[in-house]
């Protein structure tokens, strides 16, 4: 197995590469963030179903306004992104998925028996696919509701925030690990 097929990379190589990507993003454009794009995709879908949700407005700072107060906040900046989804942050997230897809193909993909659940889940909760899907659905709800309440996620707050010594980044990370570690210790007693 060559170095480039090894997953996970040794932590020094992986840390260096991931750190470089976060640095290059700030050097050339702005800090990396992901969770806002869930809102933008929701907005795009909602606006497709009900086209009056986001409309152009000459009074709004961004040039767009929304009947939804969240999309309309900060001068309608999310409303603008919903109206023009081919913007930097949305394309970034799509490209991120393509990058992960290419990496997975090059290393031979995810083993068939791990696609629906990881071994550590199977060891603690059994083989039921429905149970795993239900749990990840609820977890996804909590993670994105939490990320939007916090104004960022693991990328935006934890990594981009702490690399800039942002006070909010430390507060967010403290909250995430304060629950994340005890919850995982309680839920996953067998290692898998």
């Amino acid at each position: 197995m060559t170095f480039w097929q090894q997953v996970p990379l040794p932590w020094k190589a992986g840390g260096l590469l991931l750190g470089l990507v976060f640095f290059i993003a700030v050097l050339l454009v702005k800090p990396i963030g992901v969770s806002t794009q869930f809102v933008i995709l929701d907005g795009v879908l909602w606006d497709a179903a009900a086209p009056t949700v986001v409309v152009p407005s000459e009074e709004a700072k961004s040039g767009y306004t929304s009947t939804n107060p969240y999309l309309d906040k900060s001068g309608g900046k999310y409303a603008k992104d919903v109206a023009n989804p081919l913007n930097y942050s949305f394309v970034f997230v799509i490209a991120m998925m393509v990058g992960a897809f290419v990496s997975a193909i090059l290393r031979g993909g995810v083993a068939r028996d791990q696609r629906a659940m990881p071994p550590v889940w199977r060891a603690n909760f059994g083989d039921s696919v429905g149970k795993r899907y239900f749990a990840t659905f609820i977890a996804g709800f909590l993670v994105l509701f939490g990320a939007r309440l916090a104004g960022g996620c693991t990328s935006g707050h934890m990594m981009s925030g702490m690399m800039q010594t942002a006070v909010s980044g430390y507060i967010f990370s403290a909250g995430a690990f304060l629950i994340g570690i005890p919850a995982a210790l309680y839920l996953f007693r067998k290692e898998g």
Binding site: F38, L86, A95, M96, F101, P118, I138, V143, L178
Partner: protein
């Protein structure tokens, strides 16, 4: 130009996330139950490396301070972190790794992403009411950094220290923590049951 950068940096980010094992929920869950800290070491080292490069770049004038983007601190940041932490532990996914895991063909990640879209939608619809509770009011200086960064317009908690040198020092501390973190915490006494 900006879209080209989005494609290049985004693709590099997704590629690296997959290579460090972050798209695999097994590594995330075992990081959080402390039985395998490999991914923790990687992430802590990455934050340190990024911080050192960023603040050294600012000192040398290579990085435009206008590219910084510091988020506001408010009570909801902490509560949101708690909610995210719970879901992170259950699923082994966060927003970025959930999407990239879906791209690698993991089917549980699809349900995570759908749940995420519903959760983000629920926040959109309840935002006005949440704003009224005061959870979103700034605390600890709002959009503050630890030390003042010259050329950037953010308040700081410790005005007596140059933010750039503080950032390099904290970055170094992150790298050191990554170095000394053990591979696991606790004895390996939690083996999986043999197949029945």
């Amino acid at each position: 130009m900006e879209i080209t950068l989005a494609i290049l940096i985004g693709a590099a980010f997704g590629f690296v996330l997959d290579r460090i094992g972050a798209t695999n929920p097994n590594y995330i869950i075992r990081m959080l139950n402390l039985s395998d800290l490999h991914l923790m070491k990687t992430i802590v080292a990455a934050i340190g490396v990024a911080s050192i490069l960023l603040f050294a770049g600012l000192l040398l004038g290579l990085v435009d301070p206008g590219h910084l983007s510091v988020k506001a601190a408010y009570l909801g940041v902490f509560i949101g972190g708690l909610l995210l932490g719970l879901g992170f532990a259950v699923a082994g996914y966060c927003p970025g790794t959930g999407l990239t895991a879906l791209a690698t063909g993991r089917t549980d990640a699809l349900f995570f992403v759908i749940g995420g879209l519903v959760g983000a939608g629920a926040y959109m619809l309840t935002y006005a009411g949440i704003a009224e509770t005061g959870l979103l009011e700034s605390i600890a200086g709002g959009k503050a950094t630890l030390g003042p960064v010259s050329g950037a317009d953010y308040p700081s908690l410790f005005s007596g220290v140059a933010g750039e040198w503080l950032g390099i020092g904290i970055g170094g501390a992150f790298v050191l923590i990554a170095w000394v973190l053990p591979g696991r915490i606790g004895a390996a006494n939690k083996q999986a049951l043999p197949a029945e």
